[in-house]
């Protein structure tokens, strides 16, 4: 399954894709740091909204496409919120990767990550931060980075994904 987490609506998609996009009628709640997704309802966020199953969705995807405005060298608040609500994808147990502590995988899949960032006046330092963050995300999620592309506009992303 291909999972697309995007703050841009109306992206071109294929049959079978799962799109996670902002819903103007349903608020996304932010992670409250309770770790309920590890110790109360393992594998699922305890906050009941459209984003409570993110860990399970990530556990059953092989391709993850992230589409986000570049905000201070990272994701937009919406995309970051979805990722913050996704930690049930990983196990609370620790392991060591690249000589640093990380969480063990809960699932056996390997995710291929592609990221598309858009915005005007994205600085070189912001781009460098983006690259570092996606690399760190990939280590934490035991994922592989397929590519990171910067775009000047949303239309450019729609064209790239068509």
């Amino acid at each position: 399954m291909r999972l697309i987490i995007s703050d841009v609506l109306n992206l071109p998609s294929k049959t079978g894709d799962k799109l996670i996009i902002p819903d103007s009628t349903l608020k996304i709640h932010h992670c409250i740091g309770c770790f309920g997704c590890w110790i109360k309802t393992p594998g699922q966020c305890i906050i009941k909204d459209n984003y409570m199953n993110m860990g399970e969705l990530l556990g059953h995807c092989n391709e993850l496409i992230l589409v986000s405005e570049c905000v201070y060298g990272g994701f937009s608040p919406f995309v970051k919120n979805v990722l913050d609500r996704s930690i049930s994808y990983i196990s609370p147990y620790f392991t060591t990767r690249n000589k640093e502590m990380h969480h063990k995988q809960r699932y056996d899949n390997i995710i291929n990550i592609s990221a598309h960032f858009y915005g005007i006046n994205i600085t070189e330092k912001e781009k460098a931060t983006v690259l570092n963050i996606i690399a760190a995300n990939a280590v934490n999620f035991s994922a592989v980075v397929n590519g990171i592309v910067f775009h000047n506009s949303v239309d450019e992303i729609k064209g790239a994904l068509a």
């Binding site: 393992p42 556990g59 201070y72 990272g74 919406f78 919120n81 930690i87 934490n140």
Partner: protein, 209 residues
């Protein structure tokens, strides 16, 4: 000197960020005007942003979330950036606490904070990445600078001087004063204990859906 200590944990109480700010606050002289603010939600009251204007320094404390800044804080940062009245002479500092042991893993969150300062035309004063923050809640009675908080006391002592002089520092990284293997062992025992407390089984810590 006026210093705003901004607790940006999503938890309104009992947070490691709050413990860290309390520890830092204790290092400032008594004639230093400090006030603790909270950013626990994505939206900040405009009155709070206006009140922040009277402070010379802003010290953010927050947990590392998925290698960067928690989304609710990111929303608040955008709100502050869009507030045209923000005094550009304010110096911004940050303390990031991690559940991971190695403080260096806060480097990207601190880079985001620095990038935000550039966009908002605020002065970036540098930050601290503190690994093993998950243990702080169980060490409330341990004084700063003692036992497992020895390294924290050292970096906070230097950090408080930097803040008081309105100067900047390179980011500093430190960890809780426990061996890494012991921190991991205790943390994982904690997960097994907590899932049992909530009626679950330790095998469910790795449950797949």
């Amino acid at each position: 000197m006026n210093i705003a200590l901004i607790n940006a944990s999503p938890k309104k109480a009992e947070s490691a960020s709050g413990i860290l700010l309390d520890g830092l606050k204790g290092l400032f002289p008594t004639d230093c005007d400090t006030k603790i603010f909270g950013i626990h939600d994505p939206s900040m009251p405009e009155t709070a942003i206006e009140e922040l204007q009277r402070f010379d320094a802003w010290v953010f404390a927050f947990p590392l979330y998925v290698d960067a800044v928690p989304s609710h804080l990111l929303s608040a940062m955008r709100q502050i950036e869009s507030n045209k009245a923000v005094d550009k002479d304010i110096c911004v500092y940050a303390v990031v606490n991690l559940g991971f042991y190695d403080g260096q893993q806060a480097r990207n969150a601190l880079a985001v904070m620095e990038n935000w300062c550039v966009k908002s035309r605020l002065k970036w004063g540098g930050g601290i990445g503190f690994g093993g923050g998950g243990a702080l809640a169980s060490m409330k009675n341990v004084p700063l600078g003692r036992g497992p908080k020895t390294s924290l006391g050292k970096v906070f002592s230097a950090f408080s001087e930097v803040i008081l002089s309105s100067s900047s520092q390179e980011n500093i990284y430190a960890s809780i004063g426990l061996p890494k293997f012991l921190y991991k062992l205790v943390a994982e025992m904690g997960w097994r204990h907590m899932i049992k407390v909530h009626g679950g089984n330790k095998r469910d810590l790795n449950k797949k859906l």
